[in-house]
Symmetry: C2
Subunit: 214 residues, 2 copies
Amino acid sequence: MTAAIARETYEPALLHVQYGQRTEARELRAFHEIADHYGVKHRLVTNLNHLKLIGGSSLTDADMDVADADLDAEGVPTSYVPFRNAHLLAIATSWAEVIGAKRIFIGAVEEDSSGYPDCRLSFMEAYNQLIALGTKPDTEIRIETPLIKMNKAEIVTRGFELDAPLSLTWSCYQESDKACGHCDSCGLRLRGFARAGQRDPIPYHDDADRDRYL
Amino acid sequence: MTAAIARETYEPALLHVQYGQRTEARELRAFHEIADHYGVKHRLVTNLNHLKLIGGSSLTDADMDVADADLDAEGVPTSYVPFRNAHLLAIATSWAEVIGAKRIFIGAVEEDSSGYPDCRLSFMEAYNQLIALGTKPDTEIRIETPLIKMNKAEIVTRGFELDAPLSLTWSCYQESDKACGHCDSCGLRLRGFARAGQRDPIPYHDDADRDRYL
């Protein structure tokens, strides 16, 4: 979705980062399929192995279970990967500085999301300050967060308007063949599609889960 | 030097990051020798391969030459690795959050140094703001920069006072056997020792270089 918005104005270069999450091979496939869909040649694929070494998240630590969706829960969920977006934005900033890109698009969502502290607009504003101070004086890199104040239903609706390839995307934290339908990310995704009056095109283990929020 | 200061107050855990710089094996050796010297068991060694993929620095790009020292030069030198310290601090922050550490020590030097934008106090203050916003609400992680306003001579003097193992440290950007004596980092180091009235204990290719600033 963020790529669909970015390419309306810019010629995108796409970054993918593996960090030892359970579904990393599936996410890499989604990355390349989306990049192919849009004909983006400029791609950077890298990894942050230390996020797995450091652990502390159910996404990267096989000894922790991925929790079932609890969309009304407050606080930071176990799927929080400590400070992850700071790493992703550091890579994007270094790359942008070298290739001369002026905007970094990230699909973080603050509202209607998982309560991750590094997905909030205030975090992104602080990061823009960091970029201004920590890069060469003549750089003009800024982070853009087109989705950050949207809820998932609005994002789905906008995705259909832009003809974004939602069938190529992957959100499930747990499974890579068919989506589990139970984790927090599946719950948020399915509720978003339901509220937008749309059916999610990706496969689920159990179609009853897909229709749970309809 | 920073480890010597940190251990006066805290029990340190030491992080080492390889990022494709020319002297990475030599720096890793220095890391372990210093950690052994202080009996630090808690160590994290990782790498940022993408900084080499991204390039843009004479330290990581074999096609760019490491410049000779020009200690009066202004602006950002070719040895600047784009936004490098943001990556190092992201790793340190994620690790600190998981192990419950409250302070991150980094040996950045703003004055009497190479003019890297990500070594300035203002950058570190912005990073502290980022940590406060981007980690769990109950974390209390702060960056400490004990050297940032010191010149190299003061750092050398303080190192001798603390009996820091300066003979185990490595600064040269170019060589790993004996220090080249010519790069910016050797120049700053040698001038610092000279102004502190001390002799640098590490080996140089040419002893005349070692004594250049005396």
